[in-house]
Amino acid sequence: MNQTRRWLFAPALLIALISGCRRAPVPEGPPPPSSGAPTTAGAPLRIGAIFPLSGGAGRIGEMKRQGADLAVKHLNAAGGVQGRPLEIVYADSKNQATEAGAAFAKLVDVEGVAVVMSAMSQVSLALAAPADRQQVVLFANASHPALPGKSPFVFRNLPSTKLGAPLLAETAYRDLGLRRVAVLHINDEYGAEARKLFEEKLASLGGKVVGSQTFEVGATDLRAALSSLARQKPDGWYIPGYGAALGLALKQKRELRLPGVVLCDLGLVDANVLKSAGPAADKVVVAAPDFDPASSRENVQRFVRDFEKDYQETPSFDAAFQYDAVYLLAAAIERAKEPTGDAIRAALAATSDFVGVCGPTKFDSQGDADMPMVVRMMLDGKLTSLEALAAVPPTTKPTPQAGGKPSDETGGE
């Protein structure tokens, strides 16, 4: 037994020596979290993460994990947090609230973490109460509007659905001239809320949601739902969702030759979704924050370059936001006088001057990210300006007066 232990110890020591001796690169970009030496020492500083790492939403969890891991790598290379290496303890929520609750208890009670990152609306909504009770910071990167109000311990830097969905409704009505929109949304808390907010805004402007249907995370055949909605003769479609099912919805809409421009949320900006959708993703209108992988900003370039090196794909929004989330947390832990949930919460709330890869980020009084959203259009797998949409078909930038006749060809396929 001792022999075995020695065998294991030797390479571990070697690795520790090598990695400890390597000169850490000078950090660029997100605020330098450490003022001290570029090497880390002492016991790792642990934070928890409860992501869906398996099941239908597994892809979302994987992308967030990639972003978080890269942030840890960059942070630790730059000296860690309070001179200690940062470490993330992951747990799989399977996108189920009960699994997540058990994982949360284990992370807090056994691992002793004071910060937990989470993903997905229904899971994060369920974790808000225990986080509040146990004074643990819950950095919940899910988009449900009700999330930040649940507890002073809840924060996020992912934009709320209340920013994206109404903005898309406004774009649909004013810029694209859509009056009758069909909604096909993913069947979860986020999808239902996105539909509601979109419908309210569109109705307030004078437009109408003419029908709505849901699809499951693992759905593969959406033809019936699409055809059923198409009976209502929509002139546009809002499809909030994520994962391969979103890609298939777009692909099958195109195959069925159903007309009308499509509006989507951030879920579309994912290499896997775009691959599933194929050419059907072109000309889809997306409301997204101002993260641009092609940006010339130094921190973005470094993030994108290292991300592509590690994972052989362009980072998605999920990865980018989680990268920033870890940096925001690291900076707050650095500033907090003691590593308790309450001290970190106070430090996080006081965040200012943070410029991450997703741009400047600060929190409002409820811990919600305050960030500008831009409406853009997908073309050849990249987000481009919306003007290109009007330039494609030989029509329409319809007049914004209410009751203006909608054009069937607006951004049509």
Partner: protein
């Protein structure tokens, strides 16, 4: 309405093919062959790997994938069912083994290739059948859908011919009707059963290729397939292969109509409501004969 019927039947063609393969194995071996889902998923992933990773042309890749399914089916019989049968395992044990085989394969696929759906990126175009149907919607069938219907029809007829017009078919039917009597009359089930499971898996493999080409592959794809097949076998009547195939078509029609009329959330509700209703009214299924085995 006729468009709805057509789309539903197209959706049912793949289910019919899966169910036919499953029903064949179930009727002959008496095993509730859950591992059908494993061979199904393996075929899907083989197609994806051959096209996406190895860059093979799609006809070669799909042929390879079907062969993988057949080989996997043969292996399930020879490596799992036969040794257990030799030890006089109960049908419950055989079922659990089959379920275990499915679970192991689905999880290994997830471990190896992740949980996300992997699209094949094939595009065979589409055919505009009609500019505007009764609902004012265009009726369009994709190349993959047409190929699925055509392949399912050809394979059903070929397999039916094989079962009714050859000595192999006679042996299969004899074993299915009464395995003990068939054995007493000198039929070598040790040789026959691997062939039957391989054949059933080949049929499933073709269906898996159709699904892969249409919507891509993911580790749990076998579960949906095998559950649909099980429902079709029960609805169609255990032992009746044409009944099973017809029930597969019916199932596709019901699922599509349910989603079209009431929304996707109703697909499973109505599918299983149909199953329960048929079981209550006709416990032996629509085309099942009196039990004599």
């Amino acid at each position: 309405m006729s468009d709805l019927l057509l789309q539903g039947l197209v959706a049912g063609a793949r289910l019919a093919l899966i169910s036919f393969g499953f029903g064949l194995v179930y009727a002959t071996t008496g095993i509730f062959h859950f591992a059908h889902g494993a061979t199904y998923a393996l075929a899907g992933y083989a197609a994806w790997l051959a096209i996406d990773r190895a860059g093979l042309p799609w006809p070669v890749a799909l042929a390879l994938a079907v062969a993988v399914a057949g080989a996997a089916g043969w292996l399930v019989e020879v490596g799992l069912y036969r040794p257990l049968r030799a030890r006089r395992a109960s049908s419950d044990t055989l079922f659990l083994t089959s379920l275990g085989a499915y679970t192991v394969v689905a999880n290994l696929l997830a471990l190896a290739f992740g949980h996300e759906t992997q699209p094949l990126g094939l595009d065979f175009g589409s055919v505009l059948v009609r500019e505007a149907g009764p609902d004012g919607l265009p009726l369009v069938l994709t190349g993959v859908q047409l190929a699925t219907v055509g392949t399912a029809a050809v394979l059903f007829l070929a397999t039916w011919g094989l079962l009714t017009r050859t000595t192999f078919g006679l042996r299969v039917r004899a074993t299915a009707a009464n395995p003990n009597l068939a054995a007493a009359l000198g039929l070598d089930s040790a040789r026959l059963l691997p062939q039957v499971v391989a054949l059933g898996s080949l049929l499933g493999g073709v269906a898996a290729c159709c699904q892969a080409a249409d919507v891509g592959v993911q580790p749990q794809m076998g579960l949906e397939a095998v559950v649909a097949a099980a429902v079709a076998v029960v609805v169609g009547g255990i032992g009746s292969l044409p009944g099973t195939a017809l029930a597969g078509l019916l199932l596709g029609l019901v699922r599509h109509s349910a989603a079209y009329t009431f929304g996707a959330r109703w697909e499973d509700v109505l599918t299983f409501a149909l199953l329960l209703t048929i079981l209550l009214l006709r416990p032996r299924g629509l085309f099942g004969s009196a039990p004599d085995r």
